[in-house]
Structure formats: C-alpha cells, structure tokens
C-alpha cells in the first residue's frame, strides 16, 4: 500500500515537473521525486534488511535529495538565470504529451514485457514513464539547466527500474553509477557556466554556430 502511494508520488512529481513554469519549481520537483525514491529504497532495504541497500539509500539521499538540487540551485543563482524555462511546448500541451507517454509506457509494460508480480509491473511502468518524461523535458525545455534536470529525471527512472525490477544491481555497479551521476551534473554545470559566459544566455535552441 505504502509502496503504491510512493510510486504514485514519483509519477506525480514527474508530471509536476512537466507542468512547472519556473526553474525553482522544476528543481523542487526533482528534489521531491528523489525523496520519494529514497523512501521507496528505504522500505526495500528495511524489508530485505540488507546493509548494502541501506548504504545505497544513504547515498541516494545525500546525492539526489541534497547535493545535486543544491548545486543546481546555486548554479541558477550564480548565473542569475531568469526564471522562465524556455518552453517550446506550453504546460497544457506538455501535460497532454506526458500523459500520452505514460500510456505508451503502460501498454509497453503490460503487453510486451508482462513481468510477473503486481509490484514489479507497476514499478516498471512508473520507471519507464519517468524515463520518457525525462526525455520529453530535455526536448521541450530549451534552457541548459532544464536539460540537466531532464537527464536527472531519466536517471531517476533508471534507478527505479534497477531497484525494483531486479532487486538492485550489484553493489559496486550501483555505487559507480552514483558517482557517475554526480560527475555528470558537475561537469554539465561547468559547461553551463561556460555557455553563459560566452553566449551571455543559456538558451540551447540559440546555440547554432554549428550546422550541417
């Protein structure tokens, strides 16, 4: 029951991010989604009573709930990004697209994969939806920072898939992926600064020096 509610929360936060019109709302949505993800892995860790899963849970909390959103907030403040996200599709259309993507994920999970067990099925459905919504955010939001968040939302979807469908990947891989995410965000943050300095904006659709 609790698990179902948490899965629902993860999916809802993805929709909230699609509907968000301001950078701060987007970052908050990501933080909240990561927090639900943290609750879910905590429950899994508690059920299996495994030290490794507890460790993964702690890492998840530290990196995705605290460090990464704080870092993104700081980047947003430092480059004084104006709050709009460069919507190339307005929130209503975006929500509609996100619902459609979720429905496709639902069909895909039910028809093609047909995993055994209700929890696995719904968890995989949510993770696939979240991943696709992440891709959608990257395509429909033209600010560089918003694209980073889109990538992170995709990663959240992946984490959910790994944690629930396969009961967690081998420990070392899990840790390596965490460091990888941290590194990606930091490096992308560095590039956001560079773009801001050279172009005096971070609108990705206006990066058009290279053609053909």
């Amino acid at each position: 029951m609790a698990v179902g509610l948490i899965l629902f929360g993860i999916l809802m936060m993805a929709f909230a991010m699609v509907a968000a019109k301001r950078m701060s709302a987007l970052i908050f949505g990501f933080r909240a989604q990561s927090f639900f993800l943290f609750l879910l892995t905590f429950i899994l860790a508690f059920r299996e009573n495994s030290t490794q899963l507890y460790f993964v849970t702690t890492m998840l909390f530290a990196i995705k709930v605290v460090l990464v959103p704080n870092f993104l907030c700081r980047v947003a403040r430092r480059i004084k990004v104006n709050e709009d996200l460069g919507l190339s599709a307005n929130p209503t259309v975006s929500i509609f697209a996100a619902v459609l993507l979720s429905y496709m994920a639902y069909l895909f999970t039910g028809k093609i994969l047909s995993l055994p067990g209700e929890f696995e099925n719904s968890a995989f459905f949510v993770s696939l939806s979240v991943t696709m919504i992440g891709i959608f955010l990257m395509m429909a939001r033209m600010k560089a920072l918003a694209q980073i968040i889109g990538l992170l939302v995709m990663e959240n979807g992946m984490f959910l898939a790994a944690a629930s469908v396969s009961g967690g990947m081998p420990f070392i891989v899990e840790i390596a992926i965490f460091f990888d995410i941290l590194l990606v965000v930091i490096i992308l943050g560095v590039f956001v600064f560079k773009i801001n300095k050279l172009f005096t904006h971070i609108d990705v659709d206006k990066l058009t020096e290279l053609k053909g």
Binding site: I112, L113, T131, I135, M138, A144, Q147, L151, M154, E155, M158, A161, A162, V165, S166, G167, M169, P170, I172, V173, A176, I177, D180, L183, V184, I187, L188, F191, K194, I195, L198, F199, V204, L207, E209, L210, G212
Partner: protein, 490 residues
C-alpha cells in the same frame, strides 16, 4: 598479467601531467615522455595478445578484470592509435604553445585529459562487469567533452554541450537495456551477476522477448555513442571541434569501443535467439548509417566535418559486416575497425595541419595544400585512397571481405547497396579533398615542413595501412580470426 600495467601507465602519466610547476618547454618534454609511455602500452598490448593466442585461455582477475582475444584486439587497436596520437601531440601542442594559442598550464591540462581519456577507453574491454562497462563508456564521454571544448570558443563549447547531452541520453537508454539483461538473467537464469561471462553461460535459459527489447535499448543506446544514424548528430560537431590528435582518437577508437559493448550483448542474445535478430538490426543500422554518411560527405564543405561524416559511413560498413555474420564478414568488420582507425588518424592529422595553416575549415578556402605543405599534403592524398579502400591499402582488403561475404551468403540487395554507398563515399571524398589538395596555394603563403614527431607519426601510420593489407603479421591474422570466432559464439 599485462592488464595492470596497461591501465596503470596512462594513470601514472595523468598524475605526472598535473604535477605542479609551469616552466617554459615543459609541455614538450612531457609530450616525449607521454609518447614513450603509450608506445610501451602498445607493446604490452601486443604481448597480451600473443600470450592469449598461445594459451587460448582468457585471463581474469577477481572476476572484475577480464581479457579474452576479442578484448585483446580492441586493446591493441586503442593503444596503437593512442600512441600515434601521443606522438603527433608533441609537435601539435608545442606549436600551439609557441603560437600563444595555448598556455603551458593549458598544455598540462591537455596531457592530463589525454591520459584519462586513454585510460577510460582501455577500461572498456578489460572489465567483465557489464555495469562497469557502462560506467567506463560514460567516463569516455565526460573526459573527452573537455577535450572537445578545449579551446573555449563558442563553437567548441556548443559542440561539447551537445556531445555530453546526446551521449548521456543514449547511454541512459543503454543502462535500461543492461538492467533488463540483468533482470532476465536473475529471474530466468538464476544468477545475480552482471559479468557477461556468467550471463553468456546461462544465455540459453533467458527470456527471449525481454532479451529482444533489451538488445534494442542497447543498440540504440550504445549506438548513439558509436555514431549510428539517426543518433549521430553529436558526432560531426564534436569531431570537427576537437584538437586533431583527439579527433583521431574519437573517430578511430572511441566509436569502436561502443561497438565492442554492443558486440558483447549481441553474443549473449545470439546464444538465446539465434543470430537473425541481432544480425538484421546490425545490417539495418549499418546500411542506413553508410548511406546517410556517404550523402553528407558528398555535400560537406567543412574538411573536418567531412572526415566526421566519413566516420559515420565507416561505422556503417563495420556494422553491416557484423550483421552479415559468418567468419569472413566478421573478420572483415574487425579488420576494418583497425584499418579505419589508422587511415582516419592519418587524415585527421593532415587535415589538422591544413586547418591550422589556412585558419579555416572550409574546403573552398583551403587551396593547394600540396604546394604549401608538401609533406602533409602528400599524406593527405595517400590518406584519401587508404580511407576509401583503394588497393593496395589495407581498408581495401577489409571492405572487399565484407562485400564478398555478403554476396556469397546470398544477401544480394544488402551487399549491392553496400557497394553502391561505398562508391558514392569514395567519389565524394576523392572529389572534395583533391579540390583542396591541388591547385595553387594562396599568394605569399610560405612553404612549411613537418616537425619530426609529426613525420614519425605519419610514417608509422603509412606503414600500418600498407603493411596490414599486403603482409599482415601472422599473429595479427590469428588474433582477428580467433576474435571473430568469439563473436560468432563458436
């Protein structure tokens, strides 16, 4: 146990590169050390390959590092191209430092990143855990993005941004594929391990429909990194903006490391559902990449972008070879990976020299390379024919192998398309490059020679593309043969 020194050398070199102290002329000295280190690495790769051929048994360490003959082939290709790029870097970087384009501090950063990039690529074929393969491939993106955006110009930062974003999305999809592989391995195969050796052992009992979906994610995900059309859009930007030695590494060996990852998943999938499924997908992506790549080469006016699209086209040839299947075609595909890496490095080095001298990427503005830079110009012309697979160069033999295998297996339409697109690419590259190679050089441009390190680098590459075609050393042929048997699952 050559695995550890192979990984340790670039790590130590990266450490030395960032040691404090900025003195004039330091970058040159370090460049020499760097090249020596990477040549030692190439020698180690040869001994690794020889040892594996002799024993026939893969080596592994703690179930984490693992090398069989297929890994040895990729390690050999990567380390050879690394060493030649390191050699070419000496002259390239010290010229940049002398011209004031790059500070000594920046040169230090270059060598540190060069070695980290080399290290991340060498890790890919040497770890047995498919999750770690994923991490290593992601590392190659992150490190090389800094090398793409190295000059901090508008275009290079734009290219680096697109590079990280597109490849990260691709690789996230590959992670989903990996998770699905792991899922069916743990549920149907009864193992909780991501080691591909363990997965291959239980491959027969995996769930076919999940495997099909998972392999699709893998192919699209890692295919983004390998430069398959339509996920190739980052590639021309990144390759044209990177420094010339890095362009050679990106094009010559980074794309094949992604192919390596796909091959490992394909062998597992093949055991379970036969070679038809993966083979058809390889053929589809290969022919589309080849056709689109050849088309873009034809209309391209930017010399480095032209070479980048030629990489897309060559990756297409390699994928088609893997898709045809059978020993001859797969042998040809692996052989083509090596030949393409050597010929493309030669082209990027020569084109890089021309771009620097003329201060332009545009083929219409680059005129008379042969008269302005006799040495580099001649190399460029030889490179054109080596790259397009003209006899007697080695790429001719690999391309003809793939083609003949295709016709022999009765895949007439596919092989005919392959031949057609190859012909388009050939004429496009010859036409475009010869325009800038010949003709009169601009008024008053001084004739320029090639620095010694550059001459050596070109010399080794010429030797490779000639010798590998006409008289490949016996061990290299054995290596290719054994590696293609591994891919076939024999």
């Amino acid at each position: 146990m050559e695995i550890f020194p192979i990984l340790l050398i670039p790590l130590v070199l990266a450490g030395i590169a960032v040691l404090p102290g900025v003195k004039a002329g330091r970058s040159r000295k370090f460049g020499v050390l760097n090249a020596a280190g990477h040549f030692a690495n190439a020698a180690l790769a040869v001994t690794l390959a020889l040892g594996l051929l002799k024993s026939g048994e893969p080596v592994s360490f703690l179930g984490f590092f693992y090398a069989d003959i297929l890994s040895a082939f990729f390690i050999l290709t990567i380390s050879v191209i690394n060493s030649i790029s390191a050699l070419y870097s000496i002259g390239y970087i010290s010229a940049d430092v002398k011209d004031g384009v790059m500070s000594e501090r920046k040169a230090k950063a270059y060598y540190a990143l060069f070695n980290l990039f080399a290290l991340s690529m060498l890790c890919v074929p040497l770890v047995s855990n498919l999750g770690m393969v994923w991490v290593a491939i992601e590392m190659t993106t992150l490190v090389s993005a800094f090398l793409v955006g190295f000059y901090n110009r508008k275009e290079s930062i734009e290219a680096a941004w697109k590079y990280i974003i597109i490849c990260s999305v691709g690789i996230t999809l590959a992670l989903l594929g990996t998770i699905l592989f792991y899922y069916t391995a743990s549920r149907d195969g009864g193992i909780s391990s991501l080691n591909w050796t363990d997965m291959a052992a239980v491959a027969g009992s995996l769930n076919p429909s999940i495997l099909k979906v998972a392999f699709l994610f893998i192919l699209v995900g890692y295919g983004t990194k390998a430069g398959f059309v339509p996920m190739h859009t980052w590639l021309p930007d990144a390759h044209s903006q990177a420094l010339a030695p890095i362009s050679a590494m990106l094009s010559g060996v980074l794309l094949p490391t992604a192919i390596y990852a796909i091959i490992r998943f394909a062998t597992i999938t093949n055991v379970c559902i036969g070679t038809g499924y993966t083979g058809n997908l390889f053929m589809l992506f290969g022919l589309v990449s080849l056709g689109v790549g050849a088309g873009f080469v034809l209309v391209q006016r930017d010399i480095k972008r032209l070479l980048a699209y030629s990489s897309v086209e060559n990756i297409g040839i390699i994928a088609a070879g893997l898709g045809f299947g059978g020993t001859v075609a797969i042998y040809g595909a692996l052989f083509h990976i090596f030949n393409h890496a050597a010929a493309k490095s030669l082209m990027f080095f020569a084109a890089g020299r021309a771009v620097k001298k003329y201060g332009s990427h545009n083929i219409r503005e680059i005129r008379g390379i042969i008269s302005a830079m006799p040495f580099a110009g001649t190399m460029l012309i030889i490179g054109v024919f080596a790259l397009t697979g003209s006899p007697p160069f080695s790429a001719f033999f690999s391309e003809i192998m793939i083609l003949l295998a295709g016709f022999k297996m009765g895949l007439w339409p596919q092989a005919a398309l392959l031949l057609l697109f190859m012909a388009v690419a050939f004429s496009a590259i010859v036409l475009n490059i010869s325009r800038s190679a010949f003709g009169g050089k601009p008024e008053g441009m001084p004739v320029e020679g090639e620095p010694l390190s550059g001459k050596f680098a070109f010399g080794i590459l010429i030797l490779l593309i000639c010798a590998m075609g006409l008289a490949a050393p016996g061990f290299f042929r054995d290596l290719l043969l054994a590696a293609s048997e591994i891919i076939r699952g024999a």
